[in-house]
Amino acid sequence: MKARTVDPIPWWLKLIGAVVAIYFILPTLFVIPMSFSEAATFQFPPRGFSLRLYENFFTNPVWLDALKNSVVVALLASVLATVVGTAAALGLHSLRGRLARFARTLLMVSMVTPAIVIAVAVYISFLQWQLVGTFGGFVLAHAAIGVPFVLVSVTSALGGFDPKLLRASASLGAPPLRTFRTVTMPLISRGIVTGAVFAFVTSFDEVVIALFLRSPTLQTLPVQMYNSVTVEIDPTIAASSSVVVTVVTVLCLVLQFARKGR
């Protein structure tokens, strides 16, 4: 990558950026210290230091199962969303006209639809298909809301992709699927990985649809967290929140560094 020269950022823009960043990060800054508290209830500033909440989180089967479910659902959902989103991006990239624009909008619509609306719609249709409370149901619903992220990131990666390469590859004897594997995919891999991570994170912290789809035996981490504050007031949520925040932050940082390294 060549170094790009960028116009200097004006001070007021930096100030706004800082204020917004603090606004987003501040809640996290309360949660993480609280997760190391000795107290059995929520307290700030935290009293003492212990790993008791973490111990509870990682030993209590209710929390542990929820974490495991969330990770598996998010993994499968992001794989599915990545395959579908990438295929859609590739197909729409070579199409022009009203129909293609319509299809793109349709695929993006879940990004701007209120979560509760999607959740109700998913719940009603999944009731009929008997997918409520099943693993498959979680994966399908979460994959659907992950597709737009993959579509956007792969589409932007395709912006810098020269379609003549496809013709070159074909002329050299490669059938379309092999061309995708050896030429297209390596060149848009950044977009695919970005989309996959976003799809994973979207599923991992999704709570509204999960609340509708849960069953007594199957629930995800965000649902358990929701329960823990509304039903039982369990301070373990501080530990689980910290875990979620850390996982998501690490994923995004890895993505960021992988990008710079290239």
Partner: protein, 362 residues
């Protein structure tokens, strides 16, 4: 140069026969309209024409990137109309090189060989051989972005010929290069054509390139072949005004009143014979002289508008007759006798004039 017959020699290329080929996108006029053309094995055929004339579409039809809406294409007599591009065994060169940016030079060149599942040792040997042929030895591990435009096009050329394609299709491969490089690469393409000996189909809008490189030129206009022939035939004997204007400079006298053994332009009566009812008279600038006309020549009054110094020669910009049609005459580089505004008589040997069809066929 190390040769062992895998890249060159013994190879004559494929005959490409187009019969009544059409491509219609549903626009007002078809992009390619009933084109028939036989490209002989080992021939260097240029598809020449202005943009939108159908030359690139024709090339894409040969490559299989576009589907025919009419006619047939056959390689060595075998119909390839339904064959997908990756099964046609054609090398292709693009204007923007189309090298794979995530692969090194060696990986790019090896790509078609890996696709054909050659043994690793054979791939290494052939890659080295072809890189030597295009004079890029030692750049194996560079990435395309580290090479100049000319070098990138050499890599693309190496990649397109390394697997011994039936034919090489070149889609304005020199268009993105500057003037000097273009001349060098033009010579390179010429040399490689004679060394590799396969069929070359070259698309360009540059008449100079076409004249320098081609065995034959198919001149395209409005989706049809306007004229087909060797560069000499097209230059010396253009059949239509379009051909006369597209290849080289022409002084055009039109409309003409056609008589028996004579034509009249304005009030000049010239000896000429033509079978066309609708003809224009064309004279190349290098055939126009100034001064008193000898016998067996035709002449016209002209006014000098300007004299341009071109280095090897001078060009007099003239306006002919009473209507002041602009034209050119070529002068010696040392000739400084003319001044703008001067009245002269322009003449040319009757044998050097051409009568061409003046209406463009619609």
């Amino acid at each position: 140069m190390a040769t062992n017959g895998t890249l060159h020699g013994g190879q004559t290329g494929t005959q490409i026969r187009l019969t009544g080929v059409s491509k219609d996108y549903g626009l007002a006029t078809p992009a390619v309209d009933d084109v028939s053309l036989t490209i002989e094995p080992g021939e260097f055929m240029t598809l020449l024409g202005p943009s939108g004339s159908g030359k690139t579409t024709t090339l894409n039809l040969i490559a299989g990137f576009e589907t025919l809406t009419g006619g047939t294409i056959a390689f060595d007599g075998k119909d390839v109309g339904t064959l997908p591009p990756h099964k046609r065994n054609l090398g292709m060169l693009f204007q923007n090189y189309a090298l794979f940016p995530h692969m090194t030079v060696a990986q790019n060149v090896a790509y078609p060989l890996r696709e054909r599942r050659l043994a690793k040792a054979d791939i290494t040997r052939k890659v080295a051989e072809v890189l030597e042929l295009v004079q890029l030895t030692g750049r194996d591990d560079h990435h395309p972005a580290q090479l100049s435009g000319g070098q990138q096009q050499r890599v693309a050329l190496a990649r397109a010929i390394v697997f011994g394609p039936s034919a090489l299709l070149l889609d304005e491969p020199l268009g993105a290069l500057d003037r000097n490089l273009r001349a060098t690469l033009q010579a390179e393409i010429h040399r490689i054509h004679s060394e590799v000996g396969t069929t070359f189909v070259f698309v360009t809008h540059d008449q100079e390139e076409a004249m320098n490189l081609s065995d034959r030129i198919a001149l395209f206009n409005n989706g049809r072949i306007e004229q087909l022939g060797t560069p000499e035939e097209l230059y010396q004997n253009p059949r239509t005004l379009f051909t006369a204007r597209f290849l080289g400079d022409s002084n055009v006298f039109s409309p003409l009143a056609i008589g028996d053994g004579k034509v009249t332009w304005e009030n000049n009566v010239w000896s000429a014979s033509t079978s066309f009812a609708d003809a224009a008279l064309v004279v190349r600038p290098e055939d126009v002289r100034l001064g008193s006309p000898p016998p067996d020549s035709n002449s016209v009054n002209a006014t000098v508008r300007a004299v341009e110094y071109m280095g090897a020669y001078r060009t007099a910009l003239l306006s002919f007759g009473s209507s002041g049609v602009l034209g050119r005459a070529r002068l010696d580089a040392a000739d400084t006798s003319l001044a703008p505004g001067q009245q002269v008589t322009a003449w040319w040997p009757v044998a050097q004039q051409r009568l061409v069809l003046s209406k463009e066929p619609s």
